[in-house]
Every structure is written in structure tokens, then in C-alpha cells.
């Protein structure tokens, strides 16, 4: 596997560019050439989830067109990867370009999924001892079907202790537009998630998804918690990069 495409996702582009850079570096470190097409915007998930399928399709079409070659498309997000891999075929069902979209969807991977399942990378931990905990993104696991790939990568790091998070598979309360349409329920879920994360005694909460990170981080900051969040790509890259 010599070349791959990288799809930033809008949340990583705007809020977590370091995670995007780290993802690209991890792929390069594994000997892969990364192509980063111009013209990327959003996978279209927010409109799709709200029922505005024409609008979602319009945007999705422009994104699919950026990846014409038969190469894997790597995303630093389980939720957006789930949208492109699982929901694009539904969204384009019966459309004239369904076949092309399906072919594109088959090439989509979440970053850690690609690092583990395809590249089988071996990481060497160069960092100081640290205790972290893991937040499992609902869409990464339930939509896309991640099977512990990010935890497997973290497990390769000899100086990292992974503390189990109570109710690891419970939603953090983000849910895209849900967070502003139902702010009370969403806020209650986020506060519980933040409290569970704090009680692990870890200094960092890691996840594959910018939405969850943005949500949990905002909640932790609001309660002035010392616990920080980080995208798993950024964490892995920081600990394994040769200095």
C-alpha cells in the first residue's frame, strides 16, 4: 500500500488540525504516501441526520469527486467514516451515480482501523509514563464497526496505562445537532461522562472523534477539571515520533 488519500473532516480541519497533521504523519511513518486533495469540506452528515437529504447529497457528491483514484480514503473520525462508508450507499440509493458512490464507500477507513487492520503498524513508545482513559465513539463502534483498533494501538505503548472508563460505551451526549436541540439532556449526559472520566484518575481522555472531544472538553473546562482530552492520532504521534 504505497499511497492513500486523507480526508480531514470539517471538525478536525477547524478545531483539531494537529490531530489531522498527526494522522498524516503516522501514515507517512508507516511508509505510506499521503495525498491530501484540495476542496474538502464536510461529509454531509449533519444535513443527512436531520432529513435534508438533497442538501447532504449535493455536498457528498462534491466530496466523492475529490477521490477519483482507486486508493484508500483515510479519515481521523469514526463518525464521518461511518457516514461515508455506511450511510452514503443509503443516501445515494437509486441515484444515477450510486455505483460510483458505492465504490468510493468501499475504500473508506477510519485512521486507526487502517493502521491496525491494513498496515499492521508496530509502535515504539518514546514518551514518559502516563495514565490515559478511552472514550469509545458511538458511531465509530456501532456504525462503522471498530473492534478495538485504537485501544490495540495504545496497548502497544509500553509507558501508557489505559484506565478503563465506567460505561465506556455510553454516548457522551454530543450527537451533532442534538447538543443544541436538546441542550439539557445533552448537558446531563456530558456531565456524567466527564465525571466518569475524572474518576479514572487518568490525566488524558482519548477518542477517535472530534465531536466527542469537543463536547467532553467543553464540559471538563466548564467544571475546571484538570483532565484534558486529546485525539488519539495526536497522542500516538507525539509518543512515537523520532525527535
Amino acid at each position: 500500500m504505497n499511497e492513500v488519500y486523507f480526508y480531514a473532516t470539517c471538525l478536525v480541519d477547524l478545531f483539531y488540525p494537529d490531530a489531522g497533521m498527526a494522522g498524516i504523519q503516522l501514515l507517512r511513518q508507516a511508509g505510506v504516501q499521503v495525498i491530501f486533495p484540495e476542496g474538502q469540506t464536510c461529509c454531509g452528515q449533519p444535513a443527512f441526520n436531520c432529513g435534508y437529504w438533497e442538501e447532504a447529497r449535493d455536498v457528498a457528491r462534491t466530496q466523492v469527486a475529490l477521490f477519483p483514484r482507486d486508493l484508500p480514503v483515510i479519515l481521523p473520525s469514526g463518525s464521518c467514516a461511518g457516514m461515508m462508508k455506511i450511510h452514503y450507499p443509503e443516501l445515494f440509493h437509486g441515484e444515477p451515480d450510486e455505483t460510483q458512490v458505492r465504490a468510493f464507500s468501499a475504500r473508506v477507513y477510519e485512521l486507526t482501523q487502517f493502521l491496525v487492520d491494513v498496515l499492521d503498524v508496530k509502535l515504539e513508545d518514546l514518551g514518559e509514563p502516563v495514565k490515559v482513559t478511552w472514550h469509545s465513539s458511538c458511531h465509530a463502534v456501532r456504525d462503522l464497526g471498530l473492534k478495538g483498533e485504537p485501544q490495540a494501538l495504545i496497548g502497544q505503548l509500553s509507558n501508557v496505562e489505559l484506565a478503563p472508563l465506567a460505561r465506556e460505551h455510553e454516548c457522551c451526549g454530543f450527537g451533532g445537532t442534538f447538543s443544541v436541540r436538546q441542550p439539557e439532556i445533552s448537558g446531563a449526559m456530558s456531565c456524567d461522562k466527564a465525571a466518569d472520566a475524572e474518576s479514572t484518575g487518568a490525566s488524558l481522555l482519548l477518542s477517535t472523534d472530534g465531536g466527542c472531544l469537543l463536547n467532553v472538553n467543553g464540559t471538563l473546562e466548564a467544571k475546571r477539571s484538570p483532565l484534558r482530552v486529546q485525539h488519539v492520532a495526536e497522542f500516538l504521534w507525539e509518543r512515537t515520533r523520532a525527535r
Binding site: 497533521m21 464536510c42 454531509g44 457528491r61 458511531h139 442534538f178
Partner: protein
């Protein structure tokens, strides 16, 4: 109408969230149910096999629903069960009132039935001078307080032992105050035993109706189902028209997955198979058995190939037990007969997607419900479909109230969203502004205000990833 209804669930949920006792009751109960269920499915492959089989049985039953209903009616009638059909709840209520009046019945003792809740049968009968007493312990508890069920399997789950102790000491005649669960149960039992003996009629729900034998299956734990259907001279059963399965052997896997998913039990304490009224020479059983089969919007749901999956439901309640929203707000916040994830897809389809727009958006689409559903109902997918239906009037769609949740503001939001995101040059400008001035957005701006109720304001990076990649001169092709 839409704007007004958008907030029913939000407001009720916000109120529930302020009640620490309620939240603690639900969290404890749901955590317990989750671990009990898990203990019943030690091998995920066995669980998946049983789900696949159950899903296949329910899907096939629905595929042949009209034929199976006819076959069931013929067989049940042959067995001596009198079958009635009701298109609406009003019709079903009138039918039941008619049956009761024809027998001169004044008192009705009820086993647990969610369809009767759907019909608001108790209120209806009370208005017509007939006393309807709930005999399921949970239902009995909430009836004392004039409440509705907060869970489809455990209707009084919102209350803890101490609350029930106080309530019994106030509401049951000559009851002394005790927090001992066995003593509390014995108190209710004493009242109910007498009612079973005195009641003119009994009413029950139905878990499965078997077409080949004309049998009604009833799953329960307290024996009140058997008492309600067995002791009074008249038994009336009510069910939704989706409950039928073809063969008796298909009930076994459905029953196995129902009790395990619902309460984490390998079997329930009672499993009743009701096939006929009391026969000649038999010592017990009702002299007459009637069955009311209710539509109430189900045939409309049935007509849509995707939404039909809603009717696979076997009412185990696992979706609510595992729902992070339900766990926090409880069942009453939904202001609907069926709460939780299944209620979020069922209620809007029955009452209209625009009217209950609040419910279909009251989900983070986390998928915990679909993951545990014993008959694999894709609840998040159906929620997204109903969001579509609420805001569009697609030709060919038969969904109740389609398009009635549409607002100009949401239309324009997504139009502008698409306008920007399908033009990378515009996106680039928007991101440039966000990275330079995003910090300056006031925390009290619309939508951001909702976010910052419990969080700090999200702050964009100084330079976007795309800007940095351009600066790096990376490969773009």
C-alpha cells in the same frame, strides 16, 4: 404547531433532570437491568444467532401478516374465542364496553396491557361507570397515584421502595407503614386477591398470537395474568394487529429472547397459553373469551417497507434500559404511552411526525437501542427517516403528518449550509473567518448559547488543517 411541540419533550426532560431522586432511581434500575441482561447472554455469537432467528421470525410474520391474521381468526373462532376488530382506539373501547355491558359486568380486573394504555381504557370505562383495577403490582402502584407507566415492562420503575412505602400507608385502607418489600407486596396481594374473586371480568394483553393453533400467549411474573384471565367468568384480551406469528414452535425463540432482553430472566415465572374458553366438563377458566385486535395506525406503518420494521417489536423494553436519554429523564418525560427509543419511532408514526417532532429529535443517534434490540429494529435509521418525513412531503410516502414539522428557518439553514459546503472557495472563506474571528463570537449567541449552558465555548484553531497543508506544500493531486 411545530414550534410549540418541539419543546414538550425538552421541557419535560429538563424538569425531570432536576429531580435527583428520579435520576438515581432510573440509573440504579437501568444499570441493574443492563447487567442482568448481559449475564443471560455470555456468548455474543449465541446471542447473535438468537437475534437473527427472532428477527427472521418477526419479519416473516409481518410479510404474511394479512394471511396470518385471517388464519388466526379462523382458528381462534373455531376454538370458541370471539374475535373483534377495531380500527381506532375509540372503536376498541366501545367494543369492550359493549361486551362488558352485554354481560352486566361492573368490575374489571386487568393484567398488564400496553395496548389498553394506548386506548386509555381505564379512563374510558370509569366514565361509563365500570371500575377497572390494575393487578400487575407495578400497574397497581401507579394506579393508586393516578399515574401512567414510566416503562413498558416495569411501569412503576420511577419509584423506589421508600416512596411506595409512604404511598401504601396513605392509600391502602388499614395499611401500616413498612419499608419491607415482602410486607408491601403482601399488602397489595391481599387487596388484589379479593378483587380477582369478585371481578365480573378480566382483561389482558397478548405477547404472541399463534395462527396455526389460534392460541394467545401471555408472559408474566406475578400470576396476576393467569388470575385475570382465568378466575372471572369473562376474559377480554386486547392486542395490536402485529402480534401474530405463524407457528407455535416460533414462539419458543421469541419467548427466550424476550425474557432475557427484558428483565434478564431465562424464563418468566408464568407463561400462559390461552386457546379456548372453559370447555364442557372443565372445572375452571372463563365461560367466554373475547379478543379485540387493534389497528390504531399500524396498517399505515405496515404499508411502508422500511418503517414496517417498527412492528417487529416484541415489547421487551431493552431499548429503553440501554438508552442514555431514557436513563436520565425517565418514561414520563416523553408524554407518550410508549417511552424510550421504541416510543420515539412509534408515537410519531401513530400521532403524526410533525406533532411529535420533539421526540424524533430527542436522540443523539448513538445506536445503543439498535445494538440490543432482540429483533434488530434499526431505530436510529428510522429516526432519521422520520426526521425526513417531518420536514418533507415526498411523493409516495404514507407517513402520518408528513411535512408538518417543516419550518422556514430550518429549510434556509440547510440550504445555506449546502450552498457553502459544496463550494470549496466559500468553505475556505468561512473557515478563514472562523479561525481568525471565531474566538470573538459571543457565548450568548443563538445555538452557541445552548452549547455553553454546560460547556465552555468551542474555540477554532488558529490555522485550519487545510491552510497548514497548503503551507507545507503537501501532495494534493
Amino acid at each position: 404547531m411545530h414550534v410549540e411541540n418541539e419543546v414538550i419533550f425538552r421541557d419535560a426532560a429538563a424538569k425531570a433532570l432536576l429531580d435527583p431522586q428520579l435520576r438515581a432511581n432510573f440509573r440504579r434500575a437501568m444499570d441493574g437491568l443492563i447487567s442482568k441482561r448481559l449475564a443471560q447472554f455470555p456468548d455474543p455469537r449465541d446471542l447473535q444467532d438468537l437475534r437473527d432467528l427472532s428477527t427472521a421470525i418477526r419479519s416473516r410474520s409481518l410479510l404474511n401478516l394479512p394471511e396470518l391474521l385471517e388464519q388466526f381468526e379462523a382458528k381462534a373462532t373455531e376454538n370458541g374465542i370471539q374475535v373483534h376488530w377495531a380500527e381506532t382506539c375509540e372503536e376498541a373501547n366501545e367494543l369492550i364496553l359493549g361486551i362488558l355491558r352485554s354481560k352486566g359486568a361492573r368490575t374489571l380486573v386487568k393484567g398488564k396491557s400496553m395496548v389498553s394504555e394506548e386506548m386509555h381504557l381505564n379512563d374510558f370505562l370509569e366514565r361509563h361507570g365500570i371500575e377497572a383495577l390494575e393487578s400487575d403490582l407495578g400497574e397497581y402502584i401507579i394506579q393508586l397515584d393516578g399515574e401512567t407507566p414510566s416503562h413498558i415492562i416495569m411501569p412503576a420503575i420511577h419509584k423506589n421502595k421508600d416512596q411506595i412505602a409512604r404511598q401504601f400507608s396513605q392509600k391502602i385502607k388499614d395499611a401500616k407503614y413498612t419499608e419491607d418489600v415482602d410486607e408491601l407486596t403482601a399488602m397489595a396481594r391481599k387487596v388484589l386477591r379479593q378483587k380477582f374473586l369478585e371481578a365480573d371480568a378480566g382483561l389482558s394483553g397478548v405477547n404472541f398470537a399463534v395462527a396455526e393453533t389460534g392460541t394467545l400467549c401471555l408472559v408474566e411474573n406475578e400470576g396476576n395474568g393467569r388470575m385475570s384471565t382465568h378466575v372471572p367468568p369473562l376474559h377480554i384480551a386486547v392486542m395490536g394487529l402485529e402480534k401474530v406469528v405463524a407457528r407455535l414452535e416460533e414462539v419458543a425463540p421469541l419467548y427466550a429472547i424476550l425474557t432475557r432482553s427484558a428483565t434478564g430472566q431465562a424464563v418468566s415465572t408464568y407463561f400462559n397459553l390461552i386457546t379456548a374458553p372453559r370447555g364442557a366438563g372443565e372445572m375452571d377458566g372463563p365461560q367466554e373469551v373475547h379478543l379485540v385486535i387493534l389497528d390504531n395506525g399500524r396498517s399505515r406503518i405496515y404499508a411502508d417497507p422500511q418503517l414496517r420494521a417498527t412492528l417487529r417489536c416484541i415489547r421487551c423494553g431493552a431499548c429503553m434500559n440501554h438508552c442514555p436519554v431514557y436513563t436520565r429523564v425517565g418514561g414520563h418525560a416523553y408524554e407518550a404511552v410508549y417511552p424510550g427509543p421504541i416510543g420515539k419511532i412509534l408515537t410519531p408514526q401513530m400521532e403524526g411526525v410533525g406533532v411529535r417532532h420533539d421526540l424524533i429529535h430527542g436522540s443523539s443517534l448513538c445506536g445503543a437501542c439498535a445494538e440490543v434490540c432482540p429483533v434488530e429494529i434499526p431505530i436510529p435509521e428510522i429516526l432519521v427517516r422520520l426526521r425526513r418525513e417531518a420536514t418533507h412531503e415526498d411523493a409516495g410516502s404514507n407517513v402520518a403528518g408528513k411535512g408538518t414539522g417543516r419550518t422556514a428557518i430550518e429549510d434556509w439553514t440547510w440550504r445555506i449550509w449546502a450552498l457553502v459546503l459544496k463550494r470549496p472557495a466559500l468553505y475556505r472563506v468561512a473557515i478563514w473567518f472562523a479561525t481568525r474571528f471565531g474566538k470573538a463570537l459571543p457565548a450568548g449567541a443563538p445555538l452557541i448559547r445552548n452549547w455553553t449552558r454546560s460547556r465552555t465555548k468551542p474555540v477554532p484553531a488558529h490555522r485550519s488543517l487545510q491552510e497548514r497543508m497548503r503551507a507545507e506544500g503537501g501532495r494534493h493531486d
